[in-house]
Amino acid sequence: LAKTTQPISMDSYEGQEVNITCSHNNIATNDYITWYQQFPSQGPRFIIQGYKTKVTNEVASLFIPADRKSSTLSLPRVSLSDTAVYYCLVGEYNNDMRFGAGTRLTVKP
């Protein structure tokens, strides 16, 4: 199972772009990279998933370098409602993926 490392916490201000980087040095060839968001008292919610290069959806972008040993979740112009815990997961199957402690993002006014 690929292990991931993320910063424990990050602070930002409304309107800024936030980049959260996740390290996964032992990622396997068939592994995907998936990010989830979790608000207090709720279950995690899928944000974005990618295999290589760049993926963008209406919520975020995911940048994956060629060696795939890290990935960066980019949240454009964050608002107070983006305050949450963000988890990076790596695996070929959902049951291979393991949640770490995540990155606690705090957006300030």
Binding site: Q42, G43, P44, F46, N94, N95, M97, R98, G102
Partner: protein, 114 residues
């Protein structure tokens, strides 16, 4: 239903008692997952069902924990002889069953063992 539902939302029990936690997945989802989340930690994988069978139960901490999904939809997580260390939020998720497709999580059941 529109999403994954879990009942009860809160459960308080005494040490040594038996509890059952229920998960109702999204209709048509063949894969179902149980996780346990302690305060300040990420969800910890417990068990994964594909259809009616437990395809991966490697995360169950010991034989006091058991889960079933007899008809391939609703699942029940059963905990025998509860201990104070079992106190946590128990999360259920479902997905369409394909590799790394999106997991949709329920709101969780908060279990407190006194």
């Amino acid at each position: 239903g529109a999403g994954v539902s879990q009942t009860p939302s809160n459960k308080v029990t005494e040490k040594g008692k038996y509890v059952e936690l229920r998960c109702d997945p999204i209709s048509g989802h063949t894969a179902l997952y149980w996780y346990r989340q302690s305060l300040g930690q990420g969800p910890e994988f417990l068990i994964y069902f594909q259809g009616t069978g437990a395809a991966d139960d490697s995360g169950l901490p010991n034989d006091r924990f058991f889960a079933v999904r007899p008809e391939g939809s609703v699942s029940t997580l059963k905990i025998q002889r509860t201990e104070r260390g079992d106190s946590a939020v128990y999360l259920c998720a479902s997905s369409s069953g394909l590799f790394t497709d999106t997991q949709y999580f329920g709101p969780g059941t908060r279990l407190t063992v006194l």
